[in-house]
Symmetry: C2
Subunit: 548 residues, 2 copies
Amino acid sequence: MRRDTIYDRDLDRNPANHQPLTPLGYLDRAARVFPDQVAVIHGSLRRSYAELYARCRRLASALAAHGIGRGDTVAVLLANTPAMIECHYGVPMAGAVLNTLNTRLDAAALAFCLAHGEAKVLVVDREFSGIAREALAQAGRSLLVIDDDDPEYAGAGEALGTCDYEAFLAKGDPEHDWAMPDDEWDAISLNYTSGTTGDPKGVVYHHRGAALLSLGNVVTGALGQHPVYLWTLPMFHCNGWCFPWTLSIVAGTHVCLRQVRAGAMYALMAEHGVTHLCGAPIVMQLLINASDAERRPLPHRVAFFTAAAPPPEAVLAGMREAGFAVTHLYGLTESYGPAVVNAWHAEWDDLPADAQAAKKARQGVRYPVLEGLDVRDPETLESVPADGKTMGEVMMRGNVVMRGYLKNPASTEAAFRGGWFHTGDLGVKHADGYVQLKDRSKDIIISGGENISSIEVEDALFKHPAVAAAAVVAKPDDKWGETPCAFVELKEGASADADDLIRWCRGRLAAYKMPRTIVFGELPKTSTGKVQKYLLRERARAGSEQES
Amino acid sequence: MRRDTIYDRDLDRNPANHQPLTPLGYLDRAARVFPDQVAVIHGSLRRSYAELYARCRRLASALAAHGIGRGDTVAVLLANTPAMIECHYGVPMAGAVLNTLNTRLDAAALAFCLAHGEAKVLVVDREFSGIAREALAQAGRSLLVIDDDDPEYAGAGEALGTCDYEAFLAKGDPEHDWAMPDDEWDAISLNYTSGTTGDPKGVVYHHRGAALLSLGNVVTGALGQHPVYLWTLPMFHCNGWCFPWTLSIVAGTHVCLRQVRAGAMYALMAEHGVTHLCGAPIVMQLLINASDAERRPLPHRVAFFTAAAPPPEAVLAGMREAGFAVTHLYGLTESYGPAVVNAWHAEWDDLPADAQAAKKARQGVRYPVLEGLDVRDPETLESVPADGKTMGEVMMRGNVVMRGYLKNPASTEAAFRGGWFHTGDLGVKHADGYVQLKDRSKDIIISGGENISSIEVEDALFKHPAVAAAAVVAKPDDKWGETPCAFVELKEGASADADDLIRWCRGRLAAYKMPRTIVFGELPKTSTGKVQKYLLRERARAGSEQES
């Protein structure tokens, strides 16, 4: 029972002392304080913060005039373009919910998202008009389709609909008096998970979490005023880790980029003095392996935030040499993107390169705006000992965890069982409290009753000088239950055979962890550079069936 | 009427996705991530974040064992010492409310605060034991008195009570499992206003606001990781502008300082590589006017955050020359300290010195964590035009505005009339939206029906080379109603008489704004360097009565 105290009387919330947390106000502030600061660069286009804000208000106003309001879903199928940034503000300024669709999905998956999210509007870039047409046909929904014809896109594709993005904006009011959300718990965006297992799940973000993760990005990234940010991370991925909103806090410049190519990245970094960029390991590979013709000298050390997989030692060395400072982040769609950081200790700079890489490979510690991070027994929810060995499930709790899965109370309840968000990632807690992933629950290999971390086997393979990438999955085995099956991509011009790699792993891995099968070839990857292990698992299973 | 949408179903708050905002978790994180980082320096004392956190948990545990809990007030009468930092965490970790008392108050005022705030505990530094004894006698409350005998204090004073701070901590549990607040709206601290008019008012802060202003400080101050912060600003003043909590976000080092003296400041800055400090203009004067013996070379450009009065041109030039970068902030006790910043534009660096000073003198724009800042008509609440001329009252709204005044619903209601916090400061809005104070409501001089800004008259006087400080107040006048009366402090060794200053002001001020009376002598100041205008008003009134 709560005791009434002197502080519980006559000190209530009112509009003067309580306002909903939302990232939308950050843009209003940037446009008023730094109206002439360059907000968006795209090809030869330059837009100031005053212009960006006016366009976002036009968008909100035009959507409202079309009857779009609180809780309506506005889907977009866009590259990293100015329109994509504008939708991050204009859509929620209308009270609506932004659903950024993954441009690499097939028509059936897109149709599922449009139908499940009950989208009332679709904004589509001409590049994706073909797949969008198919998806719309399959979704069987009548919705407003708005075509964006980006001048920087010269490829194929037709306008789909009845409404052009620029014409739509022209109808809007640049001084539109948009409203703050009724409640900071209101939805701001909807992000579908990749759906490697079953139908995609619709992750719902709220204004409070988006506002806080954006502050967390500034603090964790030590952004300073007016950073210049290169858009290598797709904005359809966790709302670009909330960076579309983050940059307004510090009046930074968005440098748009439709396609992640080494030459274009170096050119934009050099031309605009880029200070920060984010990306999966595949982006680092591109930067390191760029040809001399593609490379340009960097204006200063550039901060690179990576996630999705621990950066290997060779990649870290290559990035350092190329002029980047790499920070390793970790998170999921359910945590607004990164909510965990490999917080670096200055004294680790004195360690040998391999020991530094080992430190850097750990996912790390919570963002200051994530209230809880732990490794726990997935059944009992007991915290595992911080011994660097005992495996458990990585769990989070706090204000940068999603509201839940849209129209999926069973999955939501399972994800939040016991008051913690269950990430599905397995890991350990080191003596210093840093968390390290050992595997996805479904990626663990159980051989002869022993658990094998596929990441550990991949690490051993990756250290071989000829190996460009490696992915290890379970292969069904009559005797052992499962055995590790390795898929290996070799570096261009390098050669190695299965025996070479087996020899290499000996002494690096316990006998039971040794890969029993090695398959060479290019690895299937998602648009964000994640290896699609479910495809490899299918291949391994098929191979096993052929054998038996 | 709110329409129910798909986002309003099955997506509720639970412990996994909703936690109370509080600055307390920042310390927990710093202690776990950077346990060996130096958190506190005081004389020869060094304490790590692990040690600081353990001591705060001991304090919380010992308070809880003494029966202190949610909504109980714990008052402290402390200098800027390690104990003061510990109380900022240990007290709210027990669920209690920290009331930092101004050490320059007299016994009657302290007694008022103890009684009004219903303090159950008083932690007192030996230096202030004399005044504390008197205050306790007058307050007529029985409370637990805890004596802190700081080894860095060698002056007079006796232990008052039955309990020593270190002994009290020794009884506590360093692993105490403290609880997060029930609700982020719960009170974290109580700060009495200076009470220049009537009894002090008890300003109540909540966990949400303290957490957000702390993030705002990191963003606004571009703190980076591991700043070294010198405690020149009293922590009894708006909880040291929330910096006791702010530093934990970035695992910074607190450099304690009992007394603000130029020699000690330079020595500590040089020895510990201080990066940031805060203070009223008086602190800048001390730094600029330091003797060669007191000065030490600074390790790098040091960031200085000032508030309370606009920094004059000569002070800015002196600070730049001495190696400081000055940022001008503005706020009140009611806004957790600074909530407004003179956000600097790089292009202003190219302006002449006087134009730069004019830009820097403006209070500026809202922190990213303050949702609203405006200049409005105090009666109609209409926004004044952004013309740099039309006066109105500066108003704020947002999450870093106090809950209200303790046990004072009438004052709370008046302060929040119309859904805005009325600061009592009068000012204008410039064309670029920057706010500039022209006066406190009560400092305006109304002469022959014309409003005169006392700040404008002070500015004119201050530019005279012989003037060290100037304060202008209204003097009752039979003919004009009021006339400006100037109190002037001359620089050491400089000389000027009333005629010199009148001549100086001619051409700089409109005739009706000219000071009619000039009084020379030292200005009475508060402990934070604010001129005590109410004393000057009394003197001006007395002078006027003698004349008539």
